[in-house]
Structure formats: structure tokens, C-alpha cells
Amino acid sequence: MKPSERLDATFAALADPTRRAILARLALGEASVAELAAPFDMSQPAISKHLKVLEQAGLISRGQDAQRRPRKIEGGPMQEAVAWLEEYRQFWERRYEALDTLLGQLQAKPPKSKRKRH
């Protein structure tokens, strides 16, 4: 996948409340499909479908235990998705901090008026 396709897959996978809840659960540690399905009013196949989307986006992977086949979270794509916009945000933030400074200086400056006493 190209970086932009990977970002698309990440954002698409995150655009669903069930999948975000699954990720929140996996952030605490590995869990089997049955364990992941437990809090939801959803069949195991329905949960498996969500897991497949998360897996294809690279957001989760399968753990070592062949019996339980636990899922675990993969931080890479998520960090990439956050970093992508964050860098751009910081670019603007740096400019706007400079604008803050300028606006502060402009407002602190006494108006150029002949009536103004020194």
C-alpha cells in the first residue's frame, strides 16, 4: 500500500464506533474474538467482520497463541495517521503563535495621536 492508501484505510477503519471500541479494548492488552465480542450486542461473525477491517488496515494483528488466536493492537498506522495531520497543524500553530505576538504588539502600541501626552 502507498502511504496515502494506508492513511485512507486507517481513517476508514476508525470511522466506526464498534471498531474504535475494539481498539480501546485492545489498547489494554490482547483479547480473543469471544472476549472482544462479549461487551457488544453482536454476533461473533459480526465482530469478526470488524476485526477483518482493522486487520487489513494494519491496526491489529494476531497474537502467538494458536488456540485462542488473540488479537493485539498495532500502533504504527495509528501514529502515522495522527502524525500526518499533527505536523501540518504544528506548521499553522507556529505561524499563529507569531501572529499572536504581532497582535499583542499592535494592541500594546499607543495610538499615534497628537493629542496623546508623552
Binding site: 500526518w84 500553530e93 505576538t101 497582535l103 494592541q107
Partner: protein, 171 residues
Amino acid sequence: MTTMNTKAQVSLPSDSEVEVTRDFRAPRTLVWQAHTDPKLARRWLVGYPGWSMTVCEMDARPGGKYRWRWRSDEDGVEFGFLGEFKEVDKPALLSHYQYYDPGNFDSAMPLDNPCKIRNSFIETDGITTLTTRMDFGSKEARDAAVSTGMTDGMEVNYEGLDRIFAEQQGK
């Protein structure tokens, strides 16, 4: 209660757009002035560490042109943006078309694929909310601009920036 967005917020309103929003503790006439007076604009159009702004010309009238240019302190390489103002509704709305200048455009205005930028200035209780919506025309162009356009070929040096801000604030 009104809370201030003192940090820039970025969102993606559509596939081809980016929106940046930020609050400023100043009346909007002043924020407007900082966007349209070239002498003021060059004091905050920073964000490229190691690059100095060499040209900042702006004629903020409908159809008026602008030209911004930066030069690398290290090797003298230049790049910039050229643009044309579209809507100039002081002090509420400022829109312009922007073209990236890789350094060899001189003053000729390119005609293809501008980034359409729209700034709105809304003032509430002395706080100005500035919303900048940028339409890059396509998802590919937007993603490229967000990913690399702003820092393309430039070393991002945060320490250098901190120094610049400290100097500006007279610390």
C-alpha cells in the same frame, strides 16, 4: 461560556479540503490587517525554519495579486507562493487563489490548479475566530500538500523555531 481555541485545530471537511481554525485575542479588524498589510503579514508568515522571507507583496483588492517568497539561509534556494485575491470583504471575508512557485516563476501567473483559500473572521467578545478553508482541487493534491507541501525539501528544526519565537517575544 465561551472557550478559546488557543491552539490551531485542523479538520478535513471533504476529500479535497483542509480547514484550520484558531482564536485570537484581538479585534477582527486587526487580524484582518495582519492578513492584508504586507508589512504586518511578513512578521508572522513564518514556519519555515532556516528560511527567510525575502518578498512579501500584497494588493488586497478583488483581482489584486500577491507574491510571497522565502530563501534558504543555507544555500540560497528560493520558493514561494503567488496568488490573486478574489473576495475582499473587510473585515469579514478574504478569499484568494494560490499557486505554488517552485522558485522559477518570476512574476508570471500560472493558470492551472490553484489552491482556493477562504479566510473568515468572526469576532465575539473581542476574540476573533479565524477559519481558513483550503480547497486543493483533488484529494491527491490535498494529501500531497498536507504531507510534504509545507515542508518539502526543508529541514524542520524545532529548536531553531523556538529561538525565533523567543527573539520575537524579546526574551
